[in-house]
């Protein structure tokens, strides 16, 4: 006998609390699961179910399958241009930074931020851009025009303001 068993055996239990006589004999009959035992809510008259367009359920699964299989209209952009756009944003940040400091200090120090420094400054890394590309279904193997690039710039801003 282990030490633990010995301790348990030495503990003296109190008597079990009492249960009314024949409680378990009648327990099942008191459960009232009988489906014939009708409650008032089951007697409340319900309206007719509204109509559903014919064949809706027949075609729904096909429709949803088609929706999932149809390629999403994604933007096409080259990775180089994404980095170019990041550098553009970095340039704007630099200008704002300079303009702010110009009005506050007498000494002007021109600072240029590389893309990497800018990314560090705004606390983003490459994976953030990859997330953005994936979430927006952007195909970065192909080229895009300037208009889409401009749109991407503003979307990147919105995207990271929301983070």
């Amino acid at each position: 006998m282990s030490k633990e068993d010995k301790i348990l055996n030495e503990l003296r239990k109190t008597e079990r609390p009492s249960v009314p006589d024949s409680y378990f004999d009648n327990f099942y009959s008191k459960l009232e699961f009988d489906e014939n035992n009708v409650s008032f809510i089951e007697e409340m008259p319900k309206s007719k179910k509204p109509d559903v367009p014919a064949d809706f359920f027949t075609s729904f699964s096909e429709d949803i399958k088609e929706n999932l299989e149809a390629p999403k209209k994604g933007k096409v952009v080259s990775l180089k241009q994404i980095l170019f756009s990041v550098a553009s944003i970095a340039a704007v940040v630099s200008l704002v930074f300079l303009a702010t400091n110009l009005s506050q200090t007498e000494t002007i120090t021109e600072t240029e931020y590389s893309t990497e420094e800018y990314l560090a400054f705004v606390d983003l890394d490459e994976s953030d851009y990859i997330d953005f590309i994936v979430e927006n279904n952007i195909n970065y193997d192909e080229e895009i025009d300037e208009e889409v690039l401009y749109e991407l710039d503003s979307e990147l801003d919105d995207y990271y303001y929301e983070l």
């Binding site: 409340m44 008259p45 509204p50 729904f60 699964s61 949803i64």
Partner: protein
């Protein structure tokens, strides 16, 4: 093709062939999900839009489904959240023909008279006060008129357990309505 597949079978179909497996899942649950949504939107067009969103979310989230609950329960939660988000955004001034209330008018309960709309609102509040499992059982049995056998398959529960849950739900809802 079988009428009903177990959750395990459906997930196996999905693992074997994502697109086909997912289609079977949609066919199996679409009608139940549809009526759960339509009871809240009260029109087909909105229900259809929400159905699309729900099953697209199900498709995206299915690889992460852990099997902690029955598939229907899991899909129902997605449908419920999606419906509430939709209803919050829905333009209230938009004119659409709404479905009639679930109940007919001039209901007398405990000496009080209720319109169908009033009783429906009370009933929905009462249902929301129940534990989740009882909510599912009650909706499917009372509102959708499914048989215990069908609900047992849908929720992956024993018929005995369902009857007990339904019985408790009915008692609580009766008490809720009487005290309202």
């Amino acid at each position: 093709m079988k009428n009903h597949y177990s959750d395990i079978e459906l997930l196996q179909f999905y693992t074997d062939n994502g697109s086909l497996g997912f289609q079977r899942l949609v066919v199996q649950f679409q009608e139940r999900v549809y009526w759960q949504i339509r009871r809240l939107t009260k029109n087909h067009q909105d229900t259809e839009d929400i159905m699309q969103n729900v099953f697209i979310k199900v498709w995206k989230a299915l690889p992460k489904f852990k099997g902690d609950s029955a598939l229907f329960t899991w899909i129902y939660r997605i449908a419920f959240n999606e419906t509430h988000t939709f209803l919050t955004k829905r333009n209230k001034s938009r004119s659409v023909d709404l479905d009639p209330p679930i109940f007919e008018n001039k209901l007398i309960v405990d000496g009080h008279s209720y319109s169908g709309d009033e009783m429906e609102a009370i009933m929905f509040k009462a249902i929301e006060s129940l534990p989740e499992k009882q909510q599912h059982v009650f909706r499917l049995k009372y509102l959708d008129d499914l048989k215990y056998r069908e609900i047992a398959k849908l929720l992956d529960m024993s018929e005995g357990g369902l009857k007990a849950n339904y019985h408790h739900a009915v008692k609580k809802i009766e008490a809720f309505i009487k005290e309202y």
